[in-house]
Every structure is written in C-alpha cells, then in structure tokens.
Symmetry: C2
Subunit: 153 residues, 2 copies
DNA sequence: CTCTTAACTTGATTGATTCAAGAAAAGCGC
DNA sequence: GCGCTTTTCTTGAATCAATCAAGTTAAGAG
C-alpha cells in the first residue's frame, strides 16, 4: 500500500498531472487486484463521491498508456486492471466463480514465446490465460459427493 | 469445405436438429476462420436473407456447447468463432491491424500447463494469446525507415 | 399425419464503453 | 501569489454487442 506521496511520485514520473481522481484511482487499483472498472469506480467514490465514471475511464486509459497499470481482459469478463506491471506474469481464471489469481511464468524466461509456426508474424509477447477451478470451487465440486444438489459448475 | 451432407452428419452426431440456419452458420464458420458474430450473420444472410441475428447467436451457442465450433475472445475484439476444435492450438493477434492466425503449440504437449505457483487452483487448460505484427504490418513498419511519418505502432 | 419439443422470429432491453462539448483546475512562467 | 494555457473532469447522450422474453414455426419421433 504505497503512500499518497509515493502515488504522487509515480504520477509525476509518468509525466501525468496529479489530481484527486488520479490518486484515488491509483490507490483503488493497488488495493483491489484484478478489479473491473465498475468496482474501481465504486471504490474511488468511497473517497470522492462525485467522481464521474468518465473520469475513471479516462484515468485508467491514461495509466495504461503510461504503463502505470495493466489492462487485462479475461474471456467472459469485462475489462480489469492491476497494478503489477513490468514483469511477465499471467492469470488463472476460475471456471466456476470467475476468481482471478496471478501466475508467474512457468519457465523463468518468457515461456511460450517460441511458436512452432508463426505464419510470418513478428511475435513480441505471449499472454497466457489458465483455466481451472479455484481452491474453493475445486473443494466444493470434488468433496460434494452427495448428489443432493447440483453443484454450480 | 465439407459438403452439406457432411455438415448434416456433424449436426446429427452432436444430437442437434438439422435446420437451414444451422447448416448456413456451420458453413460460414468453416469458410471464415476467426469471423466475428456479425460477419457470420452477414455471411449466413447471403444464403438465407431472413435469418434473425438471434438465431445466429443461439446456433453459435449451441455449436459451442456441443463442441462443434470454438468460441474465442481476443482482447480488444468482439467474440469470434472457428471450426478448428479438438486440438490445442493458440492464436496470434496483430497489434496493428487485428489480424488473427492460428499457432500450434510450441512444445508438442500442452506447453504452458505447468504454472510455477498455481495458488491452489486446479488448472486444466492454458490458452495463449501471442501479440505482435502480422507480415504485412511488420514489413510496413520496418521498411519504412524514413522517419518522415510516425509509423503507427 | 399428428404431436411434442426444440428452434426461430420479433422486438425490446441491458450494460460496458465511447463520444462530444463545455467547465474546472494543474502547473507553467511571471 | 496571479493569470494563462493545456489537460483533465463533468454532464449527458449515443453506440453496439449481447441477452431476454414471448409467441410462432418446423424438425423429427411415433
């Protein structure tokens, strides 16, 4: 949880003006990993009740362009944002509840960058989305041997 | 390009009723790899001008559930569909023009399934999205050495 | 040929995201 | 500190993929 001063420095280093909405959005993204835009808007309004949704959209776009936050788009979900940038990490999405967790690269160095047939494309990045069950949902579906109720999967 | 009879068999094998809209959608997906829903609707209407968009949505969902087609959601794009199913292949998306191509697994067997820290998730699939430049856009941006104009990347 | 059920049509609705125009305020130089 | 310029924010509307709902049609079983 960086301090306000640290947030201000982050903004200034990125050559972005320091404003209340921006500080609040930055804090919201740091405090809520993988939050969607709407959650961020609500979190921001906890501090600044009158911030417009448009401002948050604008700020998130500015942050993404500046590399301050990362914009991810898990299949079946709306846009989400995270503060962890600069490393090559991926995500796992729970099929059942949609929970998202960070996953470091399996192999130390960019793992899947070597495609077998790249069709002449110049590949510079590989993003991996793992699918599976989060601990809670996995426990639920495997331990719920009693067929009394449909386990929501 | 499978024949109509082959399409019919595909449908029957999947325990789906054979209808004109379904045959047309199936053909559209086979003929237009990675087409988005709207393109499919337009293609289908080339054969059957009065098909409703809702029918196409319904059919695509039924096909996806039955495993006849695969539903993909490249970041920054609407839903797309492809007929290549059953193998573990991935996609490369051009940053510049959005073109999509298939990419076989780098390593023969599910390449990135071994995450270093899975947070207790039970991982059963890994989908890789490669980002880069398609041959056309790569040529454009690298051969344009003259700095007269901003190369759009 | 009839019946049942799945599929399709029509029309409205949702909801994330974007667009547009004007008002506010950040940070510059003075 | 003070005004100026530019960016940022507010307000309000629009877009568009996707979904929902209710009624009609037609596929396939018997």
């Amino acid at each position: 949880m960086p301090s306000t001063v640290e947030y201000e420095n982050l903004l200034r280093d990125a050559e972005l003006r320091v404003t209340q909405p921006r500080l609040a959005v930055l804090d919201a993204v740091y405090e809520n990993p993988h939050a969607d835009t709407n959650s961020i808007i609500e979190t921001v309004r906890g501090d600044l009740p009158d911030v417009s949704h448009q401002a948050v959209y604008d700020v998130l776009k500015a942050f993404t362009d500046a590399g301050l936050v990362r914009h991810i788009q898990p299949p079946g979900s709306v846009a989400r944002y995270e503060s962890r940038v600069g490393d090559n990490h991926h995500h796992i999405v729970c099929r059942s509840c949609g929970a998202i967790a960070d996953v470091d690269c399996a192999v130390g160095h960019a793992p899947c960058l070597s495609a077998s047939n790249d069709h002449g494309f110049v590949i510079d990045e590989a993003e991996v989305v793992y699918r599976g069950l989060c601990p809670a949902c996995a426990t639920e579906s495997s331990s719920a041997q009693s067929p009394r109720k449909e386990s929501r999967v």
